[in-house]
């Protein structure tokens, strides 16, 4: 029997607000443990939450960008459970009446667009962190993260394949980054994902037994865990086994999912409306105010790159996947209008550098290894015939981290292209005189030898000779 997988994803996106969701504490990452805390986020007696308005605005931005219905009145609810990293003994979240419902994200995969529907987007506070094995027998608690605002974005079970799940996550992450509401950093935990996955015989409608997978800390983990889990479920069913509804944990080290808790032992969270917070009322004026300055989103920008700059869909996708890259590209194009060449340099050489330096894992590059303006000027020098493509690679490498313009590097290293016909001709004559055997070979029909001559001539001119000119003159001279 052939099976089809049914996947829904729950994303927790940490919001880029300066302060926490219910108090004035900083959200800055990496502070000394328990430095970003106050009586409110540390759950002291008597404290009360006050909802951060920016968090609501960020939720509205995400909701509007994802075409959601915005609730004119929504409720903050308490989710009750005991854990040392949860100082109040409950998490303030949303249950009934979340701020956004419905909506969708269009995901492009293999040239086709897939519409992934959203169930809801809601606001909630993050918990702190328990630190084990650091202090003898005791576990320690760091509450810096307690009260950091999150959006929980829940998709419908619309995804049918691992690759779709990956593409959806990337699209969603790019959208949130474009909106400036989340930095999308999976490794630091500011963009987290849980997956719900089941399988069913292809062509059937009834949903299979749902398994939730937690601890997915990277795109790779999401895809590997889903692959593993889908295979495990199909194998269990094919062997005549039964699946139980449960939560499983992805073990990255052993590359497998393992049972965490079954439905029977699931928590009863005893949700109820938080009496400390009034219903959140959002009027049309507020929605309009958030909607007006919404930035151009990845899908729209990609379409514009294809139309306006004549890029291929593939290159446009690569360039708009990250907002900072797209911004970089457009800054360069503004300085020198050769989008195709600039696109190639970015997607090729610049991406290679980012990858080598692991900068591709950071989501907002504040400092690029190479300024967009310098890259633009370098391409301009190529287009003006001042340097050739090969020399440009040298210039590119020399510009990295140097803060020097391509002109400076070309003149310092004396790399300007040789177009003086006299010098080129002299170099050609010298090479031909030294290799009579190869001349005979060429004249007897071995065209490949031409490459040998060009190489020798470039060598003789330290690579600076204008390759076009070399070719022209060489062919002329080699005529029998």
């Amino acid at each position: 029997m052939k099976y089809e997988s049914v996947i829904g994803l729950e994303v927790h996106a940490q919001l880029l607000t300066d302060s926490k969701i219910f108090c004035g504490c900083s959200t800055q990452f990496g502070k000394e443990p328990n430095n970003n805390t106050c009586p409110v986020c540390a759950g002291f007696p008597g404290v009360l939450p006050v909802l951060n308005k920016r968090v609501v605005e960020f939720a509205l931005k995400a909701g509007l960008a994802a075409h959601c219905e915005i609730a004119r009145s929504s409720i903050l609810a308490r989710k009750n459970y005991f854990y040392p990293d949860l100082p109040k003994g409950y998490q303030i979240s949303q249950y009934e009446l979340p701020v956004c419902t419905g909506g969708y994200v269009d995901v492009e995969l293999d040239g086709k667009v897939k519409r992934v529907r959203l169930t809801r987007i809601h606001m909630e506070e993050d918990a702190g962190k328990n630190i084990h094995d650091a202090h003898g027998d005791a576990s320690l608690v760091d509450l810096n993260r307690a009260g950091v605002p999150l959006l929980e974005i829940v998709s419908e079970p619309d995804l049918r394949a691992t690759a779709e799940a990956g593409a959806y996550l990337k699209t969603l992450r790019a959208m949130l980054q474009y909106l400036g509401v989340c930095d999308g950093n999976m490794e630091e935990g500011s963009f987290r994902c849980d997956a719900n996955v089941s399988v069913r015989p292809e062509g059937t409608e009834t949903l299979g037994t749902k398994i939730e997978i937690k601890n997915l800390n990277s795109f790779r983990a999401v895809e590997s865990a889903l692959e593993f889990e889908i295979a495990r479920q199909i194998e269990t069913l094919s062997d005549g086994g039964k699946l139980v509804q449960e939560t499983r944990l992805w073990d990255e080290h052993h590359e497998e999912t393992r049972p965490m808790r079954s439905k029977e032992s699931a928590h009863d969270y005893r949700y109820f409306p938080d009496p400390d917070l009034l219903p959140l009322v959002i009027d049309d004026a507020w929605i309009a105010q958030v909607r007006a300055p919404l930035p151009e989103l990845p899908n729209a920008r990609k379409a514009r790159f294809v139309n306006e700059y004549g890029l291929s869909g593939y290159d446009a996708e690569l360039l708009t996947g990250r907002k900072d890259v797209a911004d970089y590209f457009e800054e360069a194009v503004l300085a020198h209008a050769n989008p195709k060449a600039l696109g190639n340099w970015i997607v090729g050489d610049l991406f290679r550098v980012l990858k080598e330096r692991k900068l591709d894992e950071q989501l907002y590059l504040a400092r690029w290894p190479l300024a967009a303006l310098n890259l633009a000027q370098m391409v301009q020098m190529i287009d003006q015939g001042k340097i050739n493509g090969k020399i440009a690679k040298t210039v590119f490498d020399a510009m990295l981290d140097s803060n020097k313009t391509p002109q400076q590097i070309v003149s310092e290293k004396n790399l300007e292209q040789l177009s003086d016909l006299g010098i080129i001709e002299a170099a050609i004559d010298q090479v031909l005189a030294a290799n009579p055997k190869q001349i005979v070979q060429y004249r007897s029909g071995n065209e490949k030898v031409l490459g040998f001559f060009v190489g020798q001539i470039m060598k003789a001119t330290q690579g600076k000779a204008n390759p076009q000119k070399v070719n022209e003159i060489l062919r002329e001279k080699l005529k029998p």
């Binding site: 007696p45 009360l48 109040k88 003994g89 409950y90 009863d268 005893r270 109820f272 009496p275 400390d276």
Partner: protein, 489 residues
């Protein structure tokens, strides 16, 4: 006569005229405490050194000019569920131990900024859960009118302290009657303001949708003065109302001509002590004679109030008290693992009544029971509020007894929680509806125990109930009697 017997209004006037210094007044109060609190047991913690320091500061300020806040230099007592920075706060629970708050409640901050002197922290039922102050983890408080009787609760310590002149005035909190019922039991004035009138920030939460801070004083004018000092919008409390606070003390005109008093028939039923009914009816008669108009009204959902209250309040409490887990502050038991740490710490730290309410509240929020209990209770709560909305179309204030009986004997009801819960049948509907209400003395029973009359107002109309209560008080002598601090059998 000891200066400790002065009312807030009298003391303030003497201080401003410099007939009396704050140091003298504060010393008189601490002398009175030294002499008598071993009988009353009103205080859990005294702040003598800090209080004398505050008194000296107040005296310096008083020298400057005659135009001062009403509370400057006046010794005030606080129920021990107000967070006071650097002053032990226990909520009468072992689970908080010797908890030293890192911040002041908004109301405490406001009290301090008026220059008032904070005497100490008064006893209460643990986490404000109870009607007799007997649920304190430390000791019970006695009623100054008869030391063998309860002072009422949960703000029993504050009520007894005011009645016995162990402070000039006090603050309490009221979730289901915890200011008004002890005020009635101890023969003083106690006002629960409209929900949202006074900030809850820094008050140890019991039931968040009903908790409210209010004054407990020797007369009505003092309640008006104290309410003025603490009321008003607080950005740290999302449920506090953004409304201007009237000068209540300037609105005690004595005029009640044409004022419509609603008398709900559901509040005068069997089960209440006859002398209480007689005293309240006599008081209503007096108000009518003085120009008020009597309207018989109906609050048809009254009979469900106790049930609704014990669902909503316990649900909220079960969640509010989850933070007492032994992790960051308060009592932590030595245990072998995390679960045991939670279980033993909470078992050792909470008293029986608190555990009972946590269990009730956990139950009514549980999957499968939520709709039948919590949700239904919220719907009935709406009906109760609508009863009052309808009634207030026909009257300006509603008058009822504060409690069905006068103060009962210590230990009389501790074995029967349901019987104890019925002490609040006349007060809890008001919290469910979020209305303001006060208790004012209206007589004594044959055993010389005080009786209280409850006056309920429209939302944010504290001014009118204060005006009616003040008129009544001024036409009677009840508030002038003083307890003897003796045991009567």
């Amino acid at each position: 006569m000891s200066f400790a017997q002065l009312t807030l209004h009298e003391a303030g006037a003497k201080l401003r005229k410099r007939e009396l210094s704050s140091v003298e007044l504060t010393e008189a109060v601490f002398q009175r405490i030294a002499d008598t609190d071993d009988k009353v047991h009103a205080y859990l913690t005294l702040a003598r050194d800090a209080a004398m320091e505050q008194a000296r500061g107040a005296d310096k300020e008083l020298k400057g000019s005659a135009d001062h806040a009403a509370l400057l230099g006046v010794p005030i007592a606080l129920k021990d569920n107000f967070l006071t920075k650097g002053l032990r706060t226990t909520c009468a629970s072992k689970i908080l131990g010797d908890f030293m708050p890192p911040y002041d409640a908004t109301t405490v901050d406001r009290i301090r900024s008026t220059g008032a002197v904070i005497v100490g922290k008064t006893n209460l039922d643990e986490f404000a859960m109870g009607s007799s102050a007997e649920n304190s983890a430390f000791f019970p408080t006695s009623n100054p009118w008869n030391l063998a009787r309860i002072p009422g609760g949960s703000s029993g310590g504050s009520a007894a302290a005011v009645a016995a002149d162990l402070c000039i005035a006090a603050l309490g909190t009221d979730t289901g009657g915890s200011i008004r019922q002890p005020a009635a039991c101890c023969g003083i004035v106690g006002l629960k303001p409209t929900y949202g009138r006074v900030s809850r920030y820094g008050i140890i939460a019991f039931a968040s949708s009903m908790d409210q801070v209010g004054p407990m004083t020797k007369n009505v004018r003092d309640s008006a003065l104290l309410l003025e000092a603490v009321a008003g919008r607080d950005p740290a409390d999302s449920t506090s109302a953004d409304l201007a606070v009237p000068r209540y003390s300037a609105m005690l005109t004595g005029d009640i001509k044409g004022l419509r008093l609603g008398i709900p028939k559901e509040y005068f039923v069997s089960g209440m002590q006859r002398e209480v009914e007689q005293a309240v009816r006599a008081a209503i008669g007096k108000l009518e004679k003085n120009g008020a108009i009597i309207e018989e009204i109906s609050l048809p959902h009254t009979e469900y109030a106790v049930a609704v209250y014990y669902i909503v309040a316990t649900a909220e409490a079960s969640s509010n008290l989850a933070r007492y887990d032994g992790m960051r502050y308060g009592h932590r038991a030595a245990a072998k693992d995390l679960i045991e740490t939670y279980m033993i710490s909470r078992d050792e730290g909470f008293g029986a009544e608190v555990k009972r309410r946590i269990m009730l509240g956990t139950y009514v929020l549980s999957a499968g029971y939520y709709d039948a209990y919590y949700l239904k209770a919220q719907r009935v709560r709406t009906l109760i509020r609508k009863d009052f909305d309808a009634a207030f179309k026909r009257c300006d204030v509603i008058v009822t007894p504060t409690a069905p009986t006068t103060a009962f004997k210590l230990g009389e009801k501790t074995q029967d929680p349901l019987e104890m819960y019925l002490s609040d049948i006349y007060t809890i509907s008001i919290n469910l509806a979020g209305l303001p209400a006060l208790s004012v003395p209206c007589g004594f029973d044959s055993e010389a125990m005080p009786i209280g009359m409850q006056i309920i107002g429209k939302h944010f109309d504290e001014a009118t109930i204060l005006r009616v209560a003040h008129h009544y008080e001024q036409s009677t002598e009840w508030h002038k009697r003083k307890p003897k601090l003796e045991i009567q059998n």
